[in-house]
Amino acid sequence: MEQIAFIVLSGLALISALVVVFHRNQVISALALAGNLVAIAGFYMLLNAQFLALLQVIVYAGAIMVLVLFVIMLLNVAEEARSHDSSPIQRYLSPILAIVFVVALGAALFGSGSAEPFAPASDSFGTVDQVGISLFTTFFYAFEVISLLLVVAMVGSVLLAKRRL
């Protein structure tokens, strides 16, 4: 059962990721990205991280991607973006950087040395309770700093959008 779900989700995630990169229409790309996010949420679900999976769908697929779609549709950037050619530096540097990234990722994955499998997660792993408790005890300061960072970003974006308040 889990294997079937994994294969289906992998297929969905891969195909949608490829569509995001290769499709010429931004709206289709954005929709595919939303599909990709939902597929990744499925992986979280399989890994017992329920809360993370649901938040992924609510926040990323349900809110952020809708906003991205909204902006693409409203501003109709399609023609503008197509005529815009990327600079030669970008064109040659980006594949090199991508390869470096994949190599680094692979090295981290296979070279981490821990050949023994992880201990199985406890039953309460990934539940709302557990995530909440670790957020407000172990990672309390990091959590508060991140929320402060979000406030700063929010104030900044409001200021940028509205020069005269």
Binding site: Q50, L67, F70, V128
Partner: protein, 349 residues
């Protein structure tokens, strides 16, 4: 029958039963809406097909099947076709976490009266309904029509804005009950009606009102039906849709209404509990039937309220809608959360 197959079959049967019950409710609801709106406007409404017009939904359904299906020449075909499916599937999924009773015993098997009893159950409903907006946005964009596109844009802005107030109003209930599992939330409200979260169980009257207003906006119903405001946008996002595809949007809207009503009942009004302890703890087939009946009655009340509001209140203007969402409901929801947090901190609830 192999051991592993039975739970899967039971689940499939539950899904089948609930999905069909929802579809049937949609049919009845359309009849109620048309008759009730007629009464409100001093008309008769459909009263020719069957007794008191009761078979009218059946006739409508047949009409939907027989109608010609049109797809605009310049539409994005794939997205155009998939959009109503997204809308309907996400609407149906959201209902899966709402308990319509505790348990029922059929042929020696004890069956929970909820499809999906997850730890983060309520979040599933929120996630599914937040994905529902894709159906509308896709429809609006793929139709390649300015009215549809405007409808889709409005829908996305409106649903994101009101999701905030909706989510925050739920947090009040969550902090009172300390769980996200709908079955537990209902179980915690057992006892007299005073124990319901809206009254002494959680003092969530304000939260309930915010939830209902935001719920009307989330389901795109009047007075917040900006995505399909006829006088401005012809029919909004589904202008270009016909026959069964239109009917799927239609069903999605009504099922979303049922889900929001079900959530309101579950979170604030004791779910399937009658409020009479003797009846709630009766058990057996009769007890289960009483629970289901109670749930249906409570949800039915809210559905009629939906219709009643639609045909009595005029539509908001778009900027008024956004004002209400961001400048009124959102701060009110925060206030409700603050008060609830204080109540919980001082052990009053």
């Amino acid at each position: 029958m192999p051991q592993g197959l039975e739970p899967i079959l039971i689940n499939a049967a539950k899904i089948f039963a609930i999905a069909n019950a929802l579809m049937a409710s949609v049919a009845i609801l359309t009849w109620i809406e048309r008759r009730l709106s007629a009464i409100i406007q001093f008309r008769l409404g459909p009263n020719r097909v069957g007794p008191a017009g009761l078979f009218q939904p059946l006739a409508d359904g047949i009409k939907f099947f027989m109608k010609e299906e049109t797809i605009p020449a310049d539409a994005r075909k794939g997205v155009f076709i998939i959009a109503p499916f997204i809308a309907l599937v996400s609407a149906l999924t959201a209902f899966a976490v709402i308990p319509i009773g505790t348990q029922i015993e059929i042929a020696g098997r004890v069956i929970d009266l909820v499809i999906l009893d997850l730890d983060g159950g309520l979040l599933v409903a929120l996630a599914a309904s937040s994905l529902g907006v894709y159906g509308i946005v896709c429809a609006g964009w793929a139709s390649n029509s300015k009215y549809a596109l405007m409808g889709g844009l409005r829908a996305s802005a409106q649903m994101i804005s009101y999701e905030l107030a909706l989510g925050l109003s739920i947090v009040g209930v969550l902090s009172v009950s300390g769980t996200l599992r709908p079955t537990e939330i209902v179980a915690l409200q057992a006892g007299s009606p005073w124990q319901w979260n809206i009254f002494g169980g959680g003092w969530q009257l304000l939260g309930f009102m915010i939830f209902m207003v935001a719920g009307y906006a989330e389901t795109n119903r009047l007075p917040f039906d900006m995505p399909e405001a006829e006088s401005e946008l012809v029919a909004g996002y589904h202008t270009e849709y016909s026959s069964m595809k239109f009917s799927m949007f239609f069903m999605a809207e009504y099922i979303a209404m049922i889900t929001i009503s079900g959530m309101a009942v579950t979170l604030f009004l004791g779910g399937y509990l009658t409020g009479i302890p003797a009846l709630d703890t009766m058990g057996g087939i009769l007890g289960a039937l009483i629970q289901i009946g109670t749930f249906v009655t409570k949800v039915g009340f809210f559905l009629i309220l939906f219709v009643w509001v639609r045909w009595t209140l005029p539509r908001f203007r778009y900027d008024q809608l956004m004002d209400l969402g961001w400048k009124r409901l959102f701060p009110l929801a925060l206030l409700n959360l603050l008060v609830t947090a204080l109540l919980v901190a001082f052990d009053i609830v």
